[in-house]
């Protein structure tokens, strides 16, 4: 599976993104890491040019409610509505419903077992309408 792991916005904390990239790699996926401080537009263009099936967004700056929906909107505008989006970082539970309603299919907070992220990937592949613009009901109930 080709998966883009991205750090949107002004946020220099990339340990989490690198850990996730690493576990995805070790599970046999091809992970394209964007590096720090990408704009929503740059992330979407990377997903498009790399033909990625999944996009993982990491944010620890508190700007997730601004940046994540923007990325989802641009993905749909680009016709990439079948890309499956998940997020992680410092994202309070009360913020998550808004993100799910934008088409994000999982939010993983600190303390999530890495195996859970891999389970999510497998599960999401089985869901026919898990893409960001496919308006599916399903999302992953994460443990943290």
């Amino acid at each position: 599976m080709r998966i883009v792991v991205a750090k949107p916005g002004l946020d220099g904390h990339d340990r989490g993104a690198k850990v996730v990239a690493r576990i995805l790699r070790d599970a046999g996926h091809e992970v394209i890491y964007t590096g720090l401080r990408r704009t929503a537009q740059q992330i979407v263009e990377t997903v498009r040019d790399e033909d990625a099936r999944f996009l993982g967004l990491s944010s620890l700056s508190g700007a997730h409610n601004h940046l994540f929906p923007k990325v989802c909107e641009l993905l749909v505008n680009e016709g990439l509505d079948d890309v499956i989006v998940f997020g992680g970082g410092i994202i309070p539970f009360e913020d998550r419903d808004v993100l799910f309603s934008c088409g994000i299919k999982a939010i993983f907070g600190p303390g999530t077992p890495t195996a859970e992220i891999l389970d999510f990937i497998v599960k999401a592949c089985e869901i026919s309408d898990a893409g960001v613009g496919q308006n599916g009901e399903w999302y992953w109930e994460s443990s943290a």
């Binding site: 070790d26 046999g28 091809e30 890491y33 590096g35 740059q42 263009e45 498009r48 033909d51």
Partner: protein, 306 residues
């Protein structure tokens, strides 16, 4: 795997420049669900109108850490400012254990972040995958497709060490070897290897001492040998020194011809390796080899008869 029907609309959209369709066609070629021959059969015209007056693909290769990605970034900026459409295929290794890969070459490419250049640049990260021997030929199909749909120059950034990377380099029209300072004394430059295949050598990190001495050693080494000495250029991706010269020289780079035989040797080996890896008898043969009921000689004989 093979024989999936070709999505004609997808290929047409890619030919018309839709980036998402380009990405998807490249994936089909990479996954071998579609072959380049299938595309050629349906769209023969785009392949016959290729401009052959100059080179279309170039490999940038060299040891890890000599600054290939940063150098390519500067070259992309230079070429884009001249209006040249360039695609970059950046190759990183797959884990032989899990098949996974971390593809991080994009991190260093800033050229595509520039609004005025981004339509002139296409970057695709490629993992060597489990069958590393077939990676070069898949890349070769991807290069040919990109050239056919109007990407004037295609750069292949190789991993930088190992035989399969030499092979990735050998499938391109031109090979550029990137070196850096403090890469050993003059004897290192004398040693055979990748340098023999070079149509140009770039000694990067010229801001660090020892770079110009290393460039002279490489030059001397070439002059002792037979044939034409390729251009040897000093650059610094950090200070920008030599970038304009390198960008212009590479655009006009001639095939030195010194490496023709060596290139064909690598292509032949790659093709042979692909033949073995894609043989439907391979699984049986491996099974028999493992339980000791077949010798390597017999296996080679069976594979050779294919």
């Amino acid at each position: 795997m093979r024989g999936e029907s070709l999505d004609l609309k997808l290929v047409s959209d890619a030919i018309n420049g839709d980036r998402r369709s380009i990405a998807r066609v490249l994936s089909s070629l990479e996954n071998r669900s579609v072959s380049l021959n299938q595309i050629k059969a349906q769209f023969p015209l785009i392949f016959t109108e290729l401009d052959t007056s100059s080179w279309s693909s170039i490999a940038i290769t060299g040891a890890p850490g000599v600054g290939k990605s940063c150098l390519i970034d500067k070259i992309l900026i230079n070429w884009s400012s001249k209006g040249i459409k360039t695609a970059l295929l950046a190759i990183d290794p797959s884990s032989p254990r899990t098949g996974g890969a971390l593809l991080g070459d994009r991190v260093r490419i800033t050229a595509i972040d520039d609004e005025q250049y981004k339509d002139l640049i296409y970057i695709r990260s490629i993992a060597t995958r489990k069958s590393s021997g077939s990676a070069p030929l898949i890349v070769s199909d991807m290069v040919e497709f990109l050239s056919a749909i109007g990407w004037q120059r295609v750069i292949i950034e190789t991993v930088g060490s190992g035989q399969s990377e030499v092979r990735c380099a050998a499938i391109t029209d031109r090979i550029v070897v990137v070196e850096g300072p403090a890469r050993g004394d003059g004897v290192q430059a004398e040693k055979a290897g990748l340098l023999e295949l070079a149509d140009a050598v770039i000694v990067n990190k010229s801001d660090i001492s020892g770079a110009s001495q290393h460039a002279s050693e490489i030059k001397e080494s070439f002059e002792l040998g037979l044939g034409q000495t390729p251009p040897i250029i000093l650059t610094s991706a950090i200070s920008g020194e030599g970038i304009e010269v390198a960008s212009s020289v590479l655009l006009e780079l001639e095939d030195t011809g010194r490496s023709k035989r060596a290139k064909w040797r690598e292509r032949l080996l790659a093709e042979y390796e692909r033949k073995i890896l894609e043989s439907d008898k391979l699984e049986d043969i491996l099974e028999n080899l493992a339980i000791g009921s077949m010798s390597i000689e017999d296996a080679l004989k069976i594979l050779g008869d294919d």
